[in-house]
């Protein structure tokens, strides 16, 4: 029997209130760093790490790839663009129109309740060894059911990050496990 595909790259980002509002309104929300339709993140180290998940390069700053997600046993997908830094924002990279990734959708009420209960909510982008890229969310309180290589890295990044900042991280799992 064929082995099921295994994860080789995992990007995770804490979903903040501003991200939820961005998702809902698809408009410019200053409290999450602006960017009307984009998920912005530090160009170092994440842009280079995320690039293999978006294999089609259209130009020096633009890469795209298919992102999949599952809900109620139905798989959906969308083409998503990864943008490199600009002269105006040399320290930022971004995933364009991220609100089209329904696999990351979190409603504001559930998000507030989760935060109120002391649990963070994360958006994940997972690349498998068959090159498929999947989006999904994950609650901090469910980390106990995760394999150690993943749970330990997320916990490490939570401990390193000030409470007011968003928790980011990346796991490379080609050879061993590297938590960045």
């Amino acid at each position: 029997m064929a082995q099921p595909p295994r994860p080789v790259r995992v990007f995770f980002k804490e979903i903040k209130k501003g991200d939820v509002l961005k998702f809902a309104t698809q408009s410019n929300i200053a409290m999450s760093g602006g960017g009307a339709r984009d998920l912005r993140f530090p160009v170092v180290p994440f842009h280079a790490l995320l690039a293999p998940m978006f294999p089609h390069q259209d130009g020096p700053r633009r890469r795209r790839g298919i992102v999949r997600w599952a809900a109620a046993n139905v798989t959906s997908s969308a083409e998503v663009v990864l943008w490199g830094p600009t002269k105006a924002r040399p320290r930022e990279a971004r995933i364009g129109r991220f609100y089209e990734i329904d696999g990351w959708k979190v409603d504001a009420q559930s998000h507030a309740a989760e935060i109120g209960a002391g649990s963070r909510w994360f958006a994940l982008l997972v690349q498998l060894n068959n090159n498929e890229v999947w989006a999904r969310t994950l609650k901090e309180r469910d980390l106990g059911g995760e394999q150690a290589w993943f749970a330990d890295c997320v916990r490490e990044k939570i401990n390193e990050t000030r409470p007011t900042r968003s928790v980011w991280g990346f796991i490379a799992k080609d050879n061993g496990v590297i938590c960045i």
């Binding site: 099921p4 595909p5 295994r6 994860p7 999949r68 997600w69 599952a70 809900a71 046993n73 139905v74 798989t75 959906s76 997908s77 969308a78 089209e100 696999g103 994940l124 997972v126 498998l128 999947w134 999904r136 994950l138 609650k139 469910d142 059911g145 995760e146 394999q147 290589w149 993943f150």
Partner: protein, 375 residues
Amino acid sequence: MSTTADGGASLHAHQILRSLKQKHNVLVSGAPATGKTRVLTEVNDLFAGVGSPPPFAPAGPNAFPVEGAVQPGSELPSPTKTKRRVWWVTFHQGTKYRDFVCGLRPRVGKGVEFEVVVGPLVDAIIHASSPDGASLVIIDEINRGPAVLAFGQLIGAIESSKRAAPDGTATRESVPFDILTPDGKTETRYMPADLYILAAMNEADTSIEPLDVAFRRRFAPYVLPVDESLLRAWFGLPTTPATLPTAAAAVTDVYEGLVQAWVAVNRTIELGRGREFQLGHGALMLKPQTETSLALLDAVELWATLVAHAREVFFGDTPGLAEAIGADQAASPYRLEEELFGGTPAPRLVEPKIDVTNVYAVLRSAAGAPPPAPA
């Protein structure tokens, strides 16, 4: 954005699994070659697959589940049960209550002796009654045997609302039944909540036993459709029908003609006999060719399959057969004629020899494409 079944098992298998969880008993039906046995196998694998979670789960509370963890809230019936077994049974004309449930069987030896036979359903009941057990009984060709006779008094007990509570105790609605123990005594039982029955049948087959309404009512129906989109995807064709050229210049022209002819034949069968008599997409799924000449060779075989199916469906009805294969189309090489038989006009279908030189024209005309303009 696109929406498809996820990788691995089909969307049908997931939906059937969810229906099993809710209703306990599911009856899968569909035209021949719609993938019934395949979907049974997929449900078998999904049901038995607990305890080895995938390295990555696109949905559920965990993304990278710990080995052996069960995903609560999933579609899996009895998700907390770790000892999961599946029984496969195929009904036939000789299937008896004794074979399927339990009974006495003569034993060859000195004098007259009998032994107790425990059938797969009782075996599954005993397993599902154990603390960690969950059972799935798969019955293929359920209407090829005397199903009501084979279930006997258990017909009432299998109903979802008539089962025992999850802890094994009887409720006010639970229906009791007796089984034979190996020492020949009778024992009263209730159908466990962790036992599921998945049956499949082909309603179009002429050599079948009809299922009575009371029996069918105890199963949630699930109909596997004839699916043109699957056949189009198989042959690498566009999702919607394309105009057929007058001559096949490429492999895709041949397959487009084949799919359109199949759709037209099935449409006539649906009108003349009923949807369940159509020919499923699986019957045409030969390995796609990359050369037109080889595709035409396959098309000859597949057109013969279509005609043979229509001949069986319209057995004794020559005009119906002629209609099904498009003999009325202007460009069709088939002709419906009348001859006198005992002084009475009788229909006769004149059939040409079909080979690679004319099969595309046959497909094209059966699909209802306009005849080529005269040279």
